[in-house]
């Protein structure tokens, strides 16, 4: 045997001498995992671990979170503010005073010449809530432009819009704990194992011991689709037809919860009338799911004791995004599945603090789910901030996806982009480039100097990231969680919070409004604004210390609440924040306005996420142990379709749409149907060179996932070279 060798070899394993663990919340997606950062004796972050006591992640982290602490030392960080006259010139290093003075003067000059709204601010879902609130104060209260939005328009605007239309208010009514109680889960365009692996794990834990049916609606055979009891490989963009047809079956067979509907909803008659047109026999030809399966799924869902729906970008990123959300809400209202443990409409959100920006940034109105259109809200906020209420516009301005075309029109002359990268993230890259070239002033604020949009910037503000600053995030289940500052930002980079505060000093109203120096003082302001019996978004009972002790608290959590638990679910009492307290059933008619495949462009182009990357790869593209799983873009294509075109596995092809072209490496797999290709959206100069991005009429969210392309052969050597050149990092 091999044992008992006298001279044992030494066993060396990296020891990780952690002196202090710092509390934080993951800065990638909206799952809201708690992470502890391990600092050594010199205060250097040397490791991290999931917090085992946090209810959300219970010690687990996904690939991105496990390696997130490596970000602090990643390449491409901005260390100094930069300025230049024209994007063609080289950047000059400047100090903060120069950068801020110049920017403030230039903003005000543009506003004086072209009007206050000629300067736009587009932010993100990545900042701390306190920063969002401060940016809202700055933009609404000091700069005074009405063209102010977040990139959350690209990911969850449809969910917001759908929630508002049905329930009268934004905010997901359910929570992860619903997995423990549900008897049927239906996922629409949501690939949890890839997009939200930790939420998937929570679901898997629930299913380990208690089997309940899982239905997955997805045009691709994702891992989630593979694990489903029933997979519905739907025709892109036709979810409304499927749901209408399910409702048709439910009403026809009397499976609806009529008592609940009559007591708690408006618009039942209209809905019933409309879905009569969507009998499964007709619907099957539109949505691609056969009539028997539609009936089976409808019955299964309606007869389950409790049933819940989750959805992500498969619904949100379509021309029927807001409608799709309303229709999922219809389905759950009709089956009596709102506000019940295990019965809910749960939007699985994208960015870590998409919820925070929805709640507090004032993008779509005023802080704390207040509306510009509402006189009382304008009055209250103006008074609270100490400014004239006439300074506020009386109606919400443009969304991000309308702000950019307004540059084409000449209505927008200057823009401030905060932690967002439209050069990679917005549809039709070529059009976005032309727009950015036209700006008189583009300020880019980002923690990475090499963020692609910086190519067009006049001014660059180097920002800090994640635990280089302090503040809160709100996750998908309305849980407010905290990040404590663990280290200083590199070089002269500053927290976004500091940058906003300094900018405010350079505007007249900045001298009237109080901009506290500490984030918790800002949190106290938000708490004060959240108070009110009828407010669901009530955080007045929270403090930083309480949040840390509870490892996150769900709102509403009112002042004086005993214990550390907020309310797990909304609308459990059947009361909704609409004018008459009832939820609105909204009849959704299907309009087919997508660019569909034809003879010239024979393939559907679908896009989506990879587990190892986040958004435009500005961060994850730098981390070898994640990036190596997909260092360059690729395209999933069906081998049968490829054979007809003579396309080979692991070869490059050129994809062409009516907007542009992209070079990708082919991955042949039966995961996609023969008339569809799938390309991840993370890569610069790739899928969004092709996408159309028709806008949802309510949410203004682009339909990234539906357009048509053709596939052409390319010279392999040139394609490889181009592919490499487009991957700067």
């Amino acid at each position: 045997m091999f044992f008992g060798r006298k001279n044992r070899k030494p066993i060396v394993i990296p020891p990780k001498p952690v002196k202090e663990w710092k509390y934080s919340t993951c800065n990638y997606c909206s799952t809201g995992c708690t992470i502890e950062l391990g600092l050594d004796a010199t205060g250097k972050v040397i490791t991290s671990r999931g917090h085992a006591g946090a209810d959300v992640n219970r010690g687990k982290l996904c690939i991105k979170g496990l390696q997130e602490h490596e970000l602090f030392n990643s390449a491409g960080r901005g260390l100094d503010p930069l300025m230049r006259q024209r994007p063609q010139d080289d950047f000059q290093k400047v100090n903060w005073t120069q950068a801020l003075d110049y920017s403030a003067e230039k903003i005000q000059a543009i506003q004086q010449q072209y009007g206050r709204d000629a300067f736009a601010v587009v932010s993100t879902g990545q900042l701390m809530t306190e920063e969002f609130y401060t940016l809202g104060k700055l933009t609404r209260g000091c700069i005074g432009t009405n063209n102010y939005d977040g990139n959350t328009t690209l990911c969850m605007a449809s969910a917001v819009s759908g929630y508002k239309r049905t329930f009268g208010l934004d905010g997901p009514p359910g929570c992860y704990d619903d997995f423990e109680h549900t008897d049927c889960l239906m996922a629409f365009g949501s690939n949890l194992p890839e997009q939200h692996p930790v939420i998937y794990w929570r679901l898997k834990e629930a299913r380990e011991t208690r089997k309940f049916p899982l239905i997955v609606v997805d045009p691709r055979v994702t891992m989630f689709a593979q694990f489903a009891d029933i997979h519905l490989p739907i025709t892109p963009g036709t979810d409304c037809v499927l749901i209408n047809s399910m409702l048709h079956v439910i009403f026809k067979e009397g499976l609806e919860d009529r008592a609940y509907l009559e007591a708690n909803t408006n618009g039942l008659a209209e809905l019933e009338e409309l879905v009569k047109q969507y009998d499964p026999i007709t619907a099957q030809h539109i949505c691609g799911i056969d009539e028997d399966t539609i009936r089976q799924v409808a019955r299964l869902y309606a007869k389950a004791n409790t049933a819940m729906s989750i959805w992500t970008m498969g619904i949100n990123q379509s021309t029927h995004g807001s409608d799709g959300v309303c229709n999922i809400n219809n389905l759950n209202l009709c089956t009596g599945n709102i506000g019940k443990p295990g019965g809910t409409s749960l939007s699985i959100t994208g960015q870590c603090n998409a919820m925070g920006t929805r709640e507090w940034s004032s993008c779509s109105g005023l802080p704390g789910y207040r509306y510009l259109e509402n006189e009382k809200d304008r009055e209250d906020v103006a008074k609270f901030w100490g400014i004239d209420e006439e300074f506020f516009p009386k109606q919400r301005g443009m969304a991000q996806t309308d702000i950019f075309p307004a540059i084409e029109n000449g209505d927008i002359k200057g823009m401030w982009l905060v932690a967002t990268n439209p050069m990679t993230s917005m549809a039709n890259t070529a059009r976005i480039r032309k727009m950015l070239e036209k700006l008189d002033l583009l300020i880019v604020q980002d923690c990475y100097e090499d963020v692609e949009t910086n190519q067009y910037a006049h001014v660059y503000f180097p920002a800090s990231v994640w635990a280089e600053k302090q503040g809160c995030h709100t996750n998908t289940e309305r849980r407010v969680n905290l990040t404590r500052s663990a280290l200083a930002p590199p070089g002269n980079a500053k927290s976004d919070f500091w940058i906003f505060n300094q900018m405010a000093k350079r505007f007249p109203n900045g001298k009237l409004i109080n901009f506290p120096d500490e984030t918790e003082a800002v949190f106290d302001e938000m708490k004060a604004l959240s108070k009110g019996k009828d407010r669901t978004l009530d955080i007045s009972g929270m403090t930083y210390d309480k949040i840390e002790a509870a490892k996150g608290i769900q709102w509403p959590y009112r002042e004086g609440t005993e214990g550390l638990k907020g309310e797990a679910r909304l609308y459990s009492d059947g009361k909704f924040p609409t004018t008459n307290g009832k939820a609105n059933l909204i009849a959704i008619n299907f309009i087919d306005n997508n660019e569909r495949p034809n003879e010239q462009y024979p393939f559907w182009l679908n896009s989506g996420r990879l587990v190892e990357h986040f958004h435009t790869r500005t961060r994850t593209g730098k981390i070898a142990n994640g990036n190596k799983f997909s260092p360059t873009p690729f395209m999933e294509m069906n081998p049968d379709a490829a054979e007809k075109l003579g396309i080979k596995h692991q070869h490059y092809v050129r994809l062409v749409s009516r907007r542009g072209d992209a070079v990708v490496m082919v991955q042949l797999t039966q995961r996609v149907p023969p008339n569809m290709v799938f390309v991840p959206f993370h890569f610069h100069d790739c899928v969004n060179r092709l996408t159309l991005g028709l806008l949802d009429p309510y949410s203004r969210q682009p339909a990234f996932k539906q357009c048509a392309v053709q596939i052409e052969h390319v010279d392999q050597l040139e394609a490889a070279q181009l592919n490499k050149e487009r991957r700067r990092f």
Binding site: M1, F2, F3, R5, R8, K9, P10, I11, V12, I13, P15, E36, T47, S48, H51, A52, G53, G59, K60, L61, C62, I63, L66, Q67, E194, P197, Y200, W201, K204, E208, T209, V221, M223, Q226, F227, P233, V611, G621, K622, A624, G626, N627, K628, F629, S630, P631, T632, F634, N638, H649, Q650, Q667, T669, Q670, R671, V672, A720, K724, R727, F729
Partner: protein, 633 residues
């Protein structure tokens, strides 16, 4: 624990039950008959012995610490999220190009009835650790604690032999550091009762860990294999699987390896050729060059050297007069010195192949198990004995006698009589022969690797032996014929004999190749895949080499039959010799580039040889975050 001690590993506050080891009881022995309580195998092990992890004298409190542990993988559940890999790389602080654990997948079916099965694999801490047995430096230890097979990078000299013999691709050779490292089972976590970090990180509830043969809670079976997993009989790996979901009858790999897995009548998935590159035959001469080039030279030169020396010594000792004359001539010493230089150069090449060549002396540390050690020892003996043989052959050499006289002003014979010197030289020569024979034998044993079915065939013996004969005959004839031609003596006996040996060597190689092709073709292992690559990617090169070999053999026989006395026949022999050299070089290069190990399936980018090669070609590998490094060798 007292205050002045350092914990072996810090358990998280409010740690969850999933992270803790939970084996209440265990079986007596595993399915292969091996005792699970390793103390029963290793009675020397003392209770309370510390593992001295990072020099820490603390002793773990784990009650099962002397039992064989292993991974449990529920293949039905893996979502391919890479959390296990990320947790492992974070814990072990590995750079992108090194991974103790990797996830690949097999897929099958057709849309929408499509299935992908992800496989997460690290070290299986085998009952029969072939890595440990193969390692010449003794860097591996199988510990009585947990049955962990641990490797010490500080001992390793980076020969990479463990990466050849492991069927699961567990040892990782770092071309930058020039050393191997591997999964350490997170023994630091085990000591405090925690499962390894990959297991604790799993988000699909696929990966688990515990005392081997124990089935985790809520799981129902413990299989030894799943589609894509190599034959467990090779090493008796300590991993068990659950796979209750049915898979399509055939599953394929997305990486460039032309392997797929087909379900046979017994329901087992066996490797088969996946004709990814079609059946067109190519030359691909450039791709014959690989990181194993030094080994091509080393093996060929050492075989040539040993073969040449053996032919000449045996022929002269058995009284073949033309060889006796040659041995007594002043051409013999240069010949013997050349054989020594050639094998010396071969050894040098083989040393440069090491990640840490300065540690070459560690190559004899594992004579008990490693064929690499024994091969090295055989060659060392051969070289040492050959050197003494040369030393004692010198007194008979007239040139040497002249030089000695010139320097020392005395006859060499005053020191030792030519006859006795020759007798001593013969004795050393015989000892060298023994060393050489064992070197050749263990060189052959080195390639009888079960995880490399293309090599694991007796053809390796006919190839090495055949080359020793052909190349040995060529080298010998170069000297002996020069001697005879320059001295104007008849050379036909020598030529006939050497020609005969050459033909014999070629015939041996031919027979081996024929049988090898027959045995590889269509077999249910990766050897068939290698053979497919041989017939397609290198199809023309392979044919050309066989043509060279066949025609040389034929020409040799014809020449032998038609007589070999004329000077003109020498030119034909010379041409034939060139063809033989060429055939040997191509053949040996093919031997190295064709082998397909029984490794785990890769993914589209990660662990995909085709993509790695492409990334190096286009320069993507120059970005550290691509996780691919350029080969330094």
């Amino acid at each position: 624990m007292s205050n002045d001690t350092v914990q072996i590993w810090e358990t998280r506050t409010e740690e969850q039950p999933y992270a803790f080891l939970s084996d209440k009881e265990s079986k007596d022995s595993n399915r292969y008959g091996q005792k699970i309580n390793l103390r029963e195998i290793n009675p020397d092990w003392e209770e309370g012995q510390s593992m001295h992890i990072n020099g820490n004298p603390e002793v773990g409190e784990n009650p099962n610490r002397n039992k064989q542990h292993g991974f449990f993988f529920t293949a039905d559940n893996c979502i391919g999220c890479h959390a296990c890999e990320a947790a492992c790389s974070e814990k072990n602080e590995n750079p992108g190009h090194i991974a103790f654990r990797s996830v690949g997948y097999v897929e099958g079916g057709s849309f929408p009835n499509y299935q992908r099965m992800n496989i997460s694999m690290a070290c299986n801490h085998c009952d029969d650790p072939v890595c440990l047995k193969g390692c010449p430096t003794n860097a591996y230890t199988k510990h009585t604690e947990y049955g962990a097979v641990l490797q010490d990078p500080e001992t390793c000299f980076g020969c990479g032999y463990c990466t050849w013999v492991c069927p699961y691709n567990a040892p990782q050779l770092d071309p930058i550091k020039g050393e191997v490292s591997k999964c350490n089972m997170c023994v630091d976590r085990l000591e405090v009762g925690l499962k390894p970090s990959c297991v604790s990180a799993c988000l699909g509830n696929a990966l688990d860990f515990g005392v081997i043969e124990n089935i985790p809670e809520n799981r129902e079976e413990a299989l030894t294999t799943i589609p894509g997993f190599p034959d467990p009989s090779i090493t008796h790996p300590n991993i068990r699987f659950q796979q209750t979901k049915g898979m399509p009858e055939e599953v394929s790999r997305t990486d460039s390896s032309p392997v797929k897995y087909h379900r046979n009548e017994k329901g087992e998935y066996k490797p088969q050729v996946d004709q990814k590159n079609g059946l067109t035959k190519y030359w691909n001469l450039g791709r014959l060059s690989s990181r194993e080039n030094p080994l091509v030279l080393f093996t060929l030169l050492s075989q040539m050297s040993i073969g040449a020396f053996a032919i000449s010594l045996i022929a002269s000792l058995t009284g073949i007069s033309s060889f006796e004359t040659f041995r007594n001539s002043n051409f013999y010493a240069p010949f013997a010195i050349t054989t020594l230089l050639l094998i010396g150069f071969g050894m040098f090449m083989s040393t440069t192949h090491l990640g840490k060549p300065m540690r070459f002396y560690r190559g004899f540390n594992n004579l008990r198990y490693s064929p690499v050690c024994r091969e090295g020892l055989g060659i060392a003996i051969f070289m040492a004995m050959l050197a003494f043989h040369i030393l004692f052959s010198l007194p008979a050499d007239s040139t040497f006698q002249y030089i000695f006289q010139a320097i020392f002003s005395t006859e060499i014979t005053s020191l030792i009589a030519v006859d006795s010197a020759q007798r001593i030289a013969s004795t050393f020569g015989c000892l060298a022969l023994l060393g050489g024979a064992s070197a050749l034998y263990y060189m052959y044993r080195c390639y009888r690797i079960k995880a490399r079915p293309f090599w694991n065939h007796w053809q390796a013996a006919t190839d090495f032996g055949g080359n020793a004969l052909t190349l040995g005959a060529l080298l010998t004839s170069a000297f002996i014929l020069t001697f005879y031609v320059s001295s104007g003596q008849a050379f036909n006996t020598a030529l006939s004999l050497l020609g005969g040996v050459l033909v014999l060597g070629l015939a041996l190689q031919g027979i081996g190749l024929k049988a090898h092709a027959r045995d590889m073709n269509g077999k249910e292992h990766e050897g068939a895949v290698s053979h497919y690559i041989q017939l397609s990617t290198f199809g023309k090169t392979y044919l050309f080499r066989n043509l060279l070999l066949g025609s040389s053999l034929l020409a040799g026989i014809v020449l032998l039959l038609t007589g070999t006395g004329q000077l003109s026949s020498l030119f034909i022999w010379a041409g034939l010799g060139l063809a033989v050299l060429c055939s040997s070089l191509i053949g040996r290069a093919l031997f190295y580039v064709l082998v397909v190990p029984t490794t785990m399936p890769g993914a589209f980018f990660w662990k995909n040889k085709g993509f790695e090669e492409h990334a190096r070609d286009i320069g993507l590998a120059n970005m550290p975050q691509a996780g691919i490094v350029t080969d330094k060798h």
